[in-house]
Amino acid sequence: MATDTLAHSQDATQDEWMGGQSPFNISYGKLMMWYFLVSDAFTFSALLISYGTLRFSTPTWPDPNVVFSAMPFLPHDMHVPLGFVSIMTFILILSSVFVVRAVQEGHMMNKKGVLYWMFLGILGGVAFLSCQAWEWMHLIVDNGMTLYENPFGTKHFGQLFFLITGFHGFHVFSGVVFNCIVWYQTLTGVYERRGHYEMVEKIGLYWHFVDLVWVFVFLAFYLL
């Protein structure tokens, strides 16, 4: 009996790979989005690892609790260490959640639900970008942290900060643009006519990846 089940399960796995169907049970487009994200993950890893290399090669490093302690709408001498970046993190997590909800409503062919949740997701993305713009402006204009000098310590810190959060911010920006296109196409009924909302899923994957990268940017710059 045991050999029978073994032979049977081998047949089953081989059949999956014999053509005529997707062995991964997903579409070509989604699989390619995944492979793009794997390659993008390596790009971000390279950036964050170069951050680690330079940090290990520098005798002193600025304290994030000191660098990131400003909040908008508060007096300049009031310090809230990591307060503003925590808010930014929550905004990005929530925006990611809203987009998952849009994907799920897409599975149920609920056009109104997709529009509602995707709209909230776009708002979250715009809010995150606005926060980042404020943070950059504060660091550059008020503190004088630029690519060439850094009042908090080694200038590597500022260079890596602007390079990596800038690259991440550009991903957020392009994600917002893609989300807007998806929202518009949902509104005009493109996906309804197509019979499925897979495009919401594919763009959703990209959007969650941006959130995933933020976890590690947050770890490297703000926590460690």
């Binding site: 794997v38 260490p81 990591l82 925590s86 909800r101 799920q104 976890v215």
Partner: protein, 126 residues
Amino acid sequence: MAHDLTKEEYSAQVAGVWRATVWLSVITIAEVVAALMWPEEWNRYTLNFGFIALSLLKAYFIVGEFMHVKYEKRALALTILVPTVFLVWFIIAFLWEGAMWLDNREIWEVILEQVPSGGGHGGGHH
């Protein structure tokens, strides 16, 4: 035009997403509180190790629940996750390299101080 999820699957996945959201929020709050409250005299490496572990846990929730990998075929999950094994050596090798640069720089500073100063760089301490 059929729904590709049953009502039960849909409810289960929606609940899963909200559960993951709560986890992500709680972990982030815990991280920020730890970063602010950790006493100076306690071991900093313990804290950093905790941060890295918690970040990996957050990554698990995002990739597993939001990006849906938990519900995909095993072969697909492997084809995405296995390449990241390369990162292990990538990280070790380059942090090692960075520490070595620092070492070299410190060693050369000591050596240069002992060279009888012929003017130019390095001298002028006394």
